[in-house]
């Protein structure tokens, strides 16, 4: 099958055919398959103490009889292996990554440098407070910065990710209602049908029932449906604004008022905070609890699936229940500077959500980011993110994209927007999945697809503020080229991608007959 493949700047196109690209000729080999008995990398210091047999120190019945089967490889092999394996990833530093709801903005390297300072990287978490004053001051300053950005007075940095922050917020909600004698009565949490999947999953984990609130024709919360469902059984409303369609809900004050009057708490999913920094604050919209994804708006690298951090900012009525330990600042009376400490002494607290103080290394990076931008820089970042999204949308309204991939809800979005691929599917037989896979051949990461669920063939596009106009134009050109192919020969798309290290994978088999680890002693292929 002869195919004209697009020229891209990151992939070598095969010479006019579907023959294997160099990446594809290199088959996947695991570190286990490179193992040869007798090879090694690690060398340890001499014990320098008496060396009795292990059995004299620990009873044999408690000891392992067969060593764990770890790979036996030399250091050069380890470096070469992971270097080669790494090249089978696409990454943000290599190209456009408009993955909706994920805020794939540039990861500044100064943040990595300061996180690696020994005073941060080699600071033991059980260090006494008086000998970790710099770390505690950093945490305090980050808390204050996030409080200002969110418009809420109190912060806990402890949650490890957005999902962890959601669980924290729901446990805070439970503690709040318990204190009011309403824990058993308030057992339902309202979430819009456009919510991130973590929201309903967190609701279940926190022992609550999900009640879905419908979306109105304009893409916002259906107020009538909300009024009908907010009642004395409502524990909380979980909402993101701008929502997962990228639309700011103008009725937000009324939404939060309805839930507050019904007695529920207001939870703001901060996944989309990058749209509004310095423009409007969740606290001012009426929310009680906000989680902030430091790996989205505050530039922590995503690491292929973490680490992140999901600090929460809360209102006065929620404050007594915040997780412990909490960072405290004590003014010294003697003219010296303030002292910082960790305190467990909060009897109404929900308790701990994890070990030690949280993902401190992430706090360092995000604090460095906030210091770099300052208040006006954060505002400028949000404004540019919104400008970039709207520019990209305007370009996507032109020509083929405009015909085949219309905006799902006809309103001005903020930092991201959702297109419907339904016309493309009906007219060209090109599903959102096919378009996404063909984008891979153009050296771009596809948008989030099939989310939010209420849009047919959804494509959720978030360019972020750190992309240039040229890169946005490049995406438009790639989409146009893909739709042109679809018009001429739809099979090109259904066969895509062609140039990636592997092509479409059998995901059904991977779940039906799962192979989740390598059998021991597997011979090299």
């Amino acid at each position: 099958m002869s195919r004209a493949l697009p020229q891209t700047d990151t992939q070598d196109p095969p010479a006019g055919s579907c023959t294997e690209s160099p990446m594809q000729r290199e088959r996947a080999v695991t570190i286990y398959e490179r193992s040869q008995a007798g090879r090694r990398a690690a060398v340890f210091p001499k014990a320098g103490v008496p060396e009795p047999p292990l059995e004299e120190l620990i009873p044999a019945s408690l000891l392992r009889t067969e060593p764990a089967d770890l790979p036996e490889v030399s250091e050069p092999e380890i470096v070469r292996h992971y270097n080669r394996v790494s090249r089978r990833n696409f990454d943000l530093d290599s190209g456009f990554y408009p993955l909706g709801s994920c805020t794939m903005k540039h990861n500044p390297r100064i943040n990595e440098r300061v996180a690696a300072l020994p005073g941060h990287a080699r600071l033991h978490p059980a260090q006494r407070d008086r000998r970790a004053q710099g770390a505690l001051e950093l945490m305090w300053n980050l808390e204050r910065s996030l409080a200002e950005i969110c418009g809420l007075p109190h912060v806990s940095l402890q949650p490890s990710a957005g999902s962890h922050g959601e669980l924290a917020g729901l446990l805070l909600t439970r503690a709040y209602h318990r204190a009011n004698g309403e824990e058993e009565q308030r057992r339902r949490v309202l979430t819009p049908d456009t919510a991130h999947g973590t929201n309903p999953a967190s609701v279940t984990m926190a022992g609550y029932e999900v009640v879905k609130v419908a979306t109105a024709a304009d893409g916002g919360v259906d107020l009538d449906d909300l009024r009908a469902k907010a009642d004395e059984e409502t524990a909380a409303l979980m909402l993101t604004n701008p929502n997962t369609l990228g639309l700011f809900d103008s009725n937000i004050a009324e939404i939060t008022r309805v839930v507050r009057e019904a007695g529920g708490t207001l939870y703001y999913d901060g996944a989309n905070l990058n749209a509004i920094m310095g423009k409007v604050r969740p606290g001012d919209m009426g929310f009680d609890i906000v989680h902030v994804n430091l790996h989205k708006s505050f530039s922590q690298p995503h690491g292929g699936g973490g680490p992140g951090a999901g600090p929460i900012a809360v209102s006065e009525r929620i404050e007594p229940f915040l997780p412990v330990p909490r960072v405290e600042r004590v003014e010294s009376g003697n003219g010296a500077g303030p002292r910082f400490g960790l305190s467990d002494d909060h009897p109404s607290s929900i308790g701990r959500l994890r070990g030690f103080q949280g993902n401190f290394g992430v706090f360092v990076r995000s604090y460095a980011y906030i210091l770099s931008l300052g208040g006006d820089g954060l505002q400028e970042a949000s404004e540019t993110a919104v400008l970039n999204a709207n520019y990209l949308l305007a370009r996507m309204r032109e020509g083929r994209a405009g015909r085949h991939l219309p905006l799902a809800f006809e309103r001005t979005p903020l930092h991201e927007f959702v297109l419907s691929g339904k016309p493309a599917k009906q007219a060209l037989g090109a599903k959102a999945l096919d378009i996404a896979k063909r984008l891979l051949d153009h050296g771009m990461h596809p948008p989030t697809i099939y989310f939010p669920l209420l849009v047919d063939e959804a494509m959720m596009i978030e360019p972020t503020e750190t992309e240039t106009k040229e890169s946005l134009d490049g995406f438009v050109a790639a989409i146009d080229s893909i739709l042109t192919e679809a018009e001429e020969d739809p099979e090109i798309l259904t066969g895509a991608p062609y140039t990636t290290p592997v092509r479409r994978l059998d995901e059904v088999a991977a779940t039906r007959d799962p192979v989740l680890r390598q059998p021991s002693g597997r011979p090299a292929p």
Binding site: S86, P301, G304
Partner: protein, 465 residues
């Protein structure tokens, strides 16, 4: 300050013209005026890169880190040497900057290393299925509890007092949500009291939870604990130190149903507590209930070997309120660091490291026991950490040692009232015999000075906290 954006004035003009608006402000028209922030954010002005570096360097300099003092602190995170290749590989853009591998065709690097990690963790724990990692240790214990509730259809846990206090506290927090009861079983002679455990078990018990080595450093005999749990149809959940699994009987072999733990010891930075990673391994029957991403091997349309996120029907983005857990972003890069470290250790290195730790730790316990005013809290076998009582107020002893550049240990009093002046002392391959000697001398001096100054009589000490 404009930073990391590249839109010039000319770009902005062109972009606004294309959009058909006069200003960026018009794009925010849906935000009601009365809700807008009508003033600038009250944050400092942006700084240049060199200023940011100096500011952060100044803060870092006010921390006593393990580079600048002798660190005998452990309690779940340890000052192991992190080989240079870990940082070199994990700082590559290809690993550092992608999102979760939702597009497998361009995420084979991440998916393959997850698969390698799963294989290694499964080997270490001797349990057949491993996820690709959770947030960290204590929340992994709480997540194991959540799964045990689903597996056993019961809502009660029996937890050893040897479980890390942070794990027990985290479990208590999560239990408010999933409505579980938690009973705690005491230690006797440093290890979980088997008799008390048997008494605490009943037909409502979903799981028994223990840590190995336990928080006081003692090695538990898991097999009878597993038998006791299984007798009432409960699961055994073991939180384990991955380094210990080079030499200790693995939990899967001793009868555990789930093994979880803190991944920091595997080549992770101390980072004042995170980010690290948690691991989660279980018996096969729990595969479709497990929390966290899991990579699975498959083939592409041309028959090439490849990897994908498997069993996604457990997960929040597919199953929403019916998901088995809410976890999404976890700690993929840290888990990769753990896998690189395990490759560096290799099959023999992990055993050698465990053996080295056991010998140095035994030596250190014996040496400190010879110090006037130091008593080991128990005689149980230990691997990398041990508990002592000092004959002086623990806080004063620690302060005295700190002033001599030694972080001597973690005080046990706040979590174990029966050991008001207990200290937990950890040894790694970085702590030489000479450094252990320095610790012994510092403790001796500290106890002599603060014990005398403290002037508390023996009878007063107990119960005064």
């Amino acid at each position: 300050m404009t930073r990391y954006t590249s839109a010039t004035d000319r770009d902005r003009e062109q972009m606004l013209a294309t959009i058909g608006v006069g200003s960026v402000e018009e794009l925010f028209a849906d935000v009601p005026d009365d809700l807008r922030l009508s003033r600038p954010l009250q944050l400092d002005d942006g700084l240049s890169e060199t200023e940011v570096y100096e500011r952060l360097r100044g803060l870092a300099a006010r921390n006593a880190d393990a580079e600048s003092e002798l660190c005998f602190l452990g309690g779940g995170m340890y000052d192991h040497y992190v080989p240079a290749i870990v940082d070199a590989i994990t700082s590559r853009s290809e690993f550092l900057t992608p999102y979760t591998p939702y597009q497998p065709e361009i995420s084979q690097g991440g998916l393959q290393t997850m698969f390698e990690f799963q294989t290694a963790m499964s080997e270490l724990t001797a349990l057949p299925v491993s996820s690709a990692g959770l947030y960290e240790g204590p929340s992994s214990v709480a997540s194991a509890g959540y799964m045990a509730i689903a597996a056993a259809g019961r809502r009660r846990f029996v937890v050893s007092a040897g479980m890390h206090p942070h794990s027990r506290q985290t479990l208590a927090t999560y239990s408010q949500g999933y409505r579980a009861d938690v009973a705690t079983v005491p230690l006797v002679d440093g290890v979980t009291d088997l008799g008390a455990l048997a008494d605490a078990l009943d037909q409502d018990t979903a799981a028994v939870m223990v840590q190995n080595p336990n928080y006081l450093g003692a090695i538990e005999d898991l097999a009878p604990l597993a038998a006791a749990a299984h007798d009432v149809g409960a699961l055994l959940i073991v939180s384990c130190d991955p380094i210990s699994l080079g030499v200790l009987r693995p939990p899967g072999e001793a009868g555990a149903d789930i093994a979880v733990g803190e991944g920091q010891p595997l080549g992770g930075r101390l980072d004042y507590g995170g980010p690290s990673f948690g691991f989660f391994c279980a018996r096969e029957e729990h595969m479709r209930r497990m929390p966290g991403r899991i990579s699975g091997e498959t083939t592409d349309v041309d028959g090439r070997r490849g990897f994908v996120l498997a069993l996604q029907t457990r997960e929040q983005h597919i199953r929403r309120e019916k998901a088995t857990h809410n976890i999404c972003t976890a700690q993929a890069l840290n888990a990769l660091g753990g896998m690189i470290y395990l490759s560096w250790l290799g099959k023999r290195g992990l055993v050698e490291l465990g053996t080295l730790l056991a010998r140095r730790t035994a030596f250190a316990r014996e040496r400190l026991a010879a110090v006037a005013g130091v008593t080991p809290l128990n005689d149980a076998p230990v691997l990398r950490e041990f508990a002592i009582a000092v004959d002086a107020p623990a806080d004063a002893v620690l302060d005295h040692c700190a002033d001599r550049g030694i972080a001597a240990g973690i005080p046990l009093g706040p979590d174990y009232r029966e050991h008001p002046d207990g200290l937990l002392v950890a040894i790694t391959e970085r702590r030489s015999a000479a450094e252990i000697e320095r610790l012994a001398e510092a403790l001796e001096e500290a106890i002599a000075v603060t014990g005398a100054l403290g002037g508390r009589a023996e009878g007063e000490r107990v119960g005064s906290r």
